[in-house]
Amino acid sequence: MSKTKVKKMMFILSKATIENVYAAFIMANGARMEGIESEIFFTFFGLEAVQKKKLEHLHVATVGNPAMHIPTILGGLPGVEAFATKMMKKEMEELDIPPVGEFLEILSDSGCRLWACKLAVDMFHLKEEDLIDEVEGILTIGDFYNRADQEGTQLLFI
């Protein structure tokens, strides 16, 4: 289908901070828009992005993030993270970047395949019904590598 050398982009999302989640989503969606296959494997904290109860409550990291340009001690004060998150979401809405839930629908409708990591699902004691319907299944890392076993596939850990 795609005439590009890159045929398939596979993302491993291990974090639940907004900036990381959006990086994965925008790149996975961008791949589909270029006619490149894409898949996302949600592992460890990345699983929060596909949990029904958590996905609309992801935050930007205000502690340990030098690009915030505020002292770390301030970043940890109550309300600072929520405020920074609110500001970032507002900026994104102005750029017509969809919220997490809507973005996941767009990705799934666009043919991006979404998978949950078995080990992380077990570790956090999650059940399939805790995850959004767009997640097609729970895979081991071996299953995921098998899906990557073709020419022109790139793997990216976020």
Binding site: M1, M33, G35, D96, I97, S110
Partner: protein, 102 residues
């Protein structure tokens, strides 16, 4: 760069996008679609009409906009224009490739 399509000379950029929308007509759209292995149906033209409408209003195109368009859903959009739907649909519509990342 110039290109002759259905006996008309049009200007295109290196990727094949028309550089002057006033040169576009339906026949040219049809020929560009053929080059992209797309056979145009009424549904395809409805999407092209939607794209022209947005272009005239100078509103940016995005996949989220397609979802909200009421013309077509995203799944169908990918089926109608396989291999990069917004890229291909805008090329057929004779307008520049969208610059948006989403």
């Amino acid at each position: 760069m110039e290109k002759v399509i259905s006996n008309k000379t049009i200007s295109v950029n290196e990727e094949g996008y028309l550089t002057d929308f006033s040169q576009w007509d339906k026949e040219i759209g049809l020929e560009i679609a053929k080059e992209q292995d797309i056979e145009m149906t009424d549904k395809h033209w409805q999407v092209i009409d939607y794209i022209h409408d947005k272009f005239e209003k100078e509103e940016p195109l995005s996949i989220r906009g397609i979802k909200k368009s009421g013309v077509i859903d995203i799944k169908e959009f990918y089926q109608l224009f396989p291999g990069g739907p917004l890229k291909k649909a805008t090329m057929i519509a004779g307008i520049p490739k969208p610059k948006s990342c989403i």
